[in-house]
């Protein structure tokens, strides 16, 4: 215990309970303590031996509790009762907590650590979830502990628990709300993609992987390459083909992928079943060390579907035997029949199988209800309103205005295309005046 009374926990506790100026309090807690001993002081007990957390009100003294709790969770010799953590996450005041974003991240890390100590990751999901839903101003903000939550869900083997969070796409990023690094964004979207792929929600998984792959940067990150591999596989599974990356994706990534075995796989997909199996066998080691074997198996399993789907564009009727011959990898007509039935069930194709084994394909025109169209229109309107708002925001931002003015200045003289024209104009004018 530090001799100076101003640095003891009792003193701090007193300040926490009495002060009404939260800004000052945050300043004291952040800078008033010597750097080396701050965490030790914060995680110590009171002189009386009392647990400081039992004295403080978890709600009213959010900021103080946040500091103490995060310090104690990460300290080696200061146990915390899990109930207090749960209670705090349920009842803290977001406004106070937002004054110390770094401590919130620490708290989240502490929660993970605690769960690891107890070997019970499932426990961490609830407090982290509360933290995630209550801390950011709205669910579209990214925080530095988003990916911790996903990690907890994955480790606890309950990916479905992450869905409520993943259903809100990230649209806002603010370093004031959370002490973010680029890695937090990459990790969150990569793990999000993994979770969604686990749940077989292919289109959403594709979107999350794509966000990770296309994150801005001067150099590509290794994680982006991993995400790109998974993105391609997810596309194969959900659509049977790959679509080009957006132009703003880093070009090195696609080049890296081109030189990998994944390209061979994509090129052979879906017709060349033998080649796919051969690739799987040959490169099993690489695939499983990339942790993509599961996705690849699913892709191979679904390959006949895409071949069959292509046939529907060419044929109106086809015998089961013919289909088995064209699709490949199918031995008996029964297998083909089962495949077709399952595809009809999932709505991938519409077809009828007659008793004689003839399949008749049809493509009923897509139907839309009025509500569907309306909802699309509404969301389009909402989007355009949002974009308009954004445009106004950009137009009055300092950066934009200063750049626009600069361009205007230079526009008069330095535009190389216009220079000649301007000069000749100027001469003409001079001539006129003289």
């Amino acid at each position: 215990m530090a001799p100076d009374s101003s640095l003891s926990l009792d003193r701090i506790l007193q300040e926490i309970t009495t002060t009404s100026n939260l800004g000052n309090l945050n300043h004291t807690l952040k800078t008033g303590l010597p750097k080396e001993s701050r965490e030790t002081i914060l995680s110590s007990a009171l002189v009386s031996g009392q647990d400081p957390l039992s004295v403080l009100d978890l709600r009213q003294n959010t900021l103080g509790v946040l500091y103490i709790l995060s310090a104690r969770l990460l300290a080696t010799n200061a146990p915390v009762a899990p109930q207090i953590v749960i209670g705090f996450c349920q009842s803290f005041l977001p406004e106070q907590a937002r004054m110390a974003p770094d401590r919130v991240t620490l708290l989240a890390r502490g929660i993970i650590r605690l769960a690891q100590q107890h070997n019970n990751m499932t426990w961490a999901i609830a407090p982290l979830y509360n933290l995630l839903t209550r801390y950011p101003p709205d669910p579209s903000y990214l925080t530095a502990f988003h990916h911790l939550f996903l990690q907890a869900c994955l480790t606890a083997n309950s990916p479905a628990a992450a869905l409520p969070i993943l259903n809100h796409p990230i649209a806002n990023v603010s370093t004031a709300v959370s002490d973010l690094t680029y890695n937090d964004n990459l990790m969150y979207h990569y793990l999000g993609g993994v979770v969604l792929a686990l749940l077989k929600r292919w289109p959403e998984a594709e979107e999350y992987f794509e966000i990770c792959v296309t994150a801005p940067g001067a150099v590509p990150a290794a994680l982006q390459f991993e995400a790109l591999k998974k993105l391609r596989l997810v596309q194969l599974i959900s659509r049977g083909e790959v679509s080009p990356l957006p132009r703003y994706a880093h070009s090195t990534l696609s080049r890296l992928l081109k030189n990998s075995i994944y390209t061979d796989f994509i090129n052979a997909y879906p017709q060349n079943i033998q080649r796919l199996h051969a690739l799987l066998d040959k490169e099993k080691q690489t695939f499983s060390s990339d942790k993509n074997l599961g996705l690849l198996m699913q892709a191979v399993e679904r390959a006949p579907r895409w071949t069959l789907k292509k046939l529907t564009a060419t044929y109106v009727t086809l015998g089961l035997g013919d289909i088995a011959r064209v699709v490949g990898g199918m031995q008996t007509e029964d297998e083909v029949r089962a495949l077709i039935l399952s595809m009809i069930e999932t709505g991938d194709i519409s077809a009828q199988i007659s008793a004689s084994g003839t399949v008749t394909f049809s493509d009923p025109p897509p139907q839309f209800t009025k509500d569907e169209v309306d909802s699309v229109l509404y969301s389009a309107q909402a989007q355009s309103a949002q974009l308009e708002l954004l445009e106004l925001e950009v137009a009055r931002s300092k950066d934009f205005i200063s750049k626009a003015i600069k361009n205007q200045d230079s526009g008069w003289s330095a535009h190389p295309d216009e220079e000649m024209y301007n000069m000749s104009n100027a001469w003409a004018e001079e001539a006129m005046f003289s």
Partner: protein
């Protein structure tokens, strides 16, 4: 004017290899009149064409061999005999029935060969000495002519690389654009003879520029003449002469362009260029020395049938009097076009099949016959199906003279390539045109577009926010950027 000589040599030798693959049948179903065909040509190209025939068609090889030897005796290049011999051996290797040995058929006149060799040697030394003298005297015009003569000489003894070198060298000593033009035309002639098509456009381009400059110069000269008290009528005549001259050169250049397009496989471009060629007399000595009028008709019509729409065929072939003259040379070509325009596809395919030997035995056309025939056939199938909503495959098989299986296979390939909007009823053998509900499709597309755009917007905005917050990926500390560059390569 840099020319990659070693590459050309390998290219030339490789074409010799490629040409000896499949045997071209010549019989009653596939008539081919060797004597009539070869009488259209003279000099070097006749021998080249005969070599091609010898190496691909064993049936004609003995006759062609004798003809080739006759032609060689008229030329001044005994080394051609070697080529003919090896082609003949390759040809007889392909044949199932043994061919008479080359020695029995015709003997090369060794005395003639020796004499020619000696004469060639003498002429070469003479020309080289001349060139040296000119170079010493530094008379530009004479040096140019020296190079030109040496070029022609080497060409006649089929030392193409050296010939090209001399022609190219003469470029440096050209004083007027007329000379440049002359040089370009010689090189073009050489390249066509050598079947080195990739360089053709370069020289056509150069010749075009020279041609413009030359005619501009000629026009200027005339204006200068105009000040002199020359009688007006001669002046007019002269102007006319200049434009005729220009057209003649233009026709040659167009022919070179067309040939290079054909060689590149850009058949549509080739079709348009062939169809707008000037009359045969414009070609001067190129006719016969390089190409026959009948060839132009065949090349043009095949390319056109494969790529052009019907209206263009009608206006460009049947109503084109200049090209009509060429078509007269090969009457079956007109039949082909007429059958095609009257949708008589069975006749078209039969004619194509009947004359496939004629096409495959042509040096310039041979590599493209299959591609062109396939394209024409595909077009025919597409055109035939166009007016129908549904058609039985056996009717199609009747119209094209194929079996139902062949028709089905053909149609399925075309559907998968996206040329036919239709679907096949494989059980009842019926082809249906695809029916689309445009309204529903429009809705589906609009809704899909809306969703896509929204998703893209969201992603782009997030990216923008990340950039605003400066959360971009940075290279880790101590990260050597040269490693990245290495990785990139």
């Amino acid at each position: 004017m840099d020319v990659d000589i070693p590459e050309e040599q390998t290219a030339q030798s490789s074409t010799h290899h490629v040409r000896k693959h499949n045997i071209i049948p010549v019989d009653d179903q596939h008539p081919f009149d060797l004597d009539g065909y070869i009488s259209n040509y003279s000099g070097r190209t006749a021998v080249d064409r005969l070599i091609h025939i010898i190496s691909t068609c064993p049936t004609l090889a003995p006759d062609a061999f004798q003809l080739a030897v006759q032609h060689i005796h008229q030329s001044r290049d005994p080394s051609l005999y070697q080529q003919v011999m090896s082609a003949y051996e390759a040809g007889s290797a392909l044949s199932e029935t043994p061919l008479p040995s080359a020695m029995e058929l015709s003997q090369i006149d060794t005395r003639w060969a020796d004499e020619t060799m000696a004469k060639n040697q003498a002429e070469r030394s003479k020309l080289e000495v001349e060139l040296k003298t000119y170079s010493n005297n530094m008379i530009k015009e004479s040096i140019r002519m020296g190079h030109r003569d040496l070029g022609s000489f080497y060409r006649s003894v089929s030392e193409y690389a050296t010939a090209l070198k001399h022609y190219a060298k003469s470029r440096e000593f050209c004083t007027t654009s007329q000379h440049v033009l002359e040089m370009c035309l010689s090189v073009l002639e050489l390249l066509i003879e050598q079947r080195n098509f990739s360089h053709l456009p370069t020289y056509v381009f150069k010749a075009d520029a020279a041609l413009d400059a030359a005619s501009a110069a000629a026009a200027n000269a005339k204006e200068a003449d105009g000040t002199a008290p020359a009688p007006a009528p001669t002046l007019l005549n002269k102007r006319k002469a200049v434009s005729e001259d220009r057209e003649r050169v233009q026709s040659k250049l167009d022919f070179a362009t067309a040939l290079s397009s054909l060689a590149n496989g850009s058949y549509q471009k080739a079709a348009y260029t062939f169809l707008k060629l000037g009359p045969a007399k414009d070609f001067g000595d190129w006719m016969g020395k390089l190409v026959a009028p009948g060839d132009i008709a065949i090349y043009g019509v095949l390319c056109a049938l494969a790529t052009l729409p019907r209206s263009a065929l009608k206006s460009q072939i049947l109503e084109n009097s200049t090209f009509g003259v060429y078509v007269e040379q090969e009457p079956y070509v007109r039949e082909l076009v007429e059958a095609y325009l009257s949708s008589n596809f069975k006749t078209v395919l039969e004619l194509l099949n009947r004359y496939s030997s004629r096409h495959a035995l042509d040096v310039y056309l041979a590599p493209h016959v299959n591609a062109l025939t396939n394209m024409i056939r595909n077009w025919a199938v597409v055109l035939y199906f166009q007016p129908f909503a549904s058609i039985r495959l056996d009717r199609m098989s009747g119209a094209f003279g194929w079996s139902v299986e062949e028709v089905e296979e053909q149609v399925v390939t075309l559907i998968q390539a996206g040329s036919i909007q239709g679907r096949v009823d494989s059980q009842n053998k019926i082809l249906y045109a695809k029916q689309t509900d445009h309204r529903a499709e429009l809705f589906a597309r609009a809704i899909k577009a809306a969703k896509d755009i929204q998703a893209t917007n969201r992603k782009v905005l997030l990216r923008m926010r990340l950039q605003q917050a400066d959360l971009t990926i940075k290279a880790p500390k101590g990260y050597n950027s040269s490693i990245v560059d290495l990785l990139h390569e």
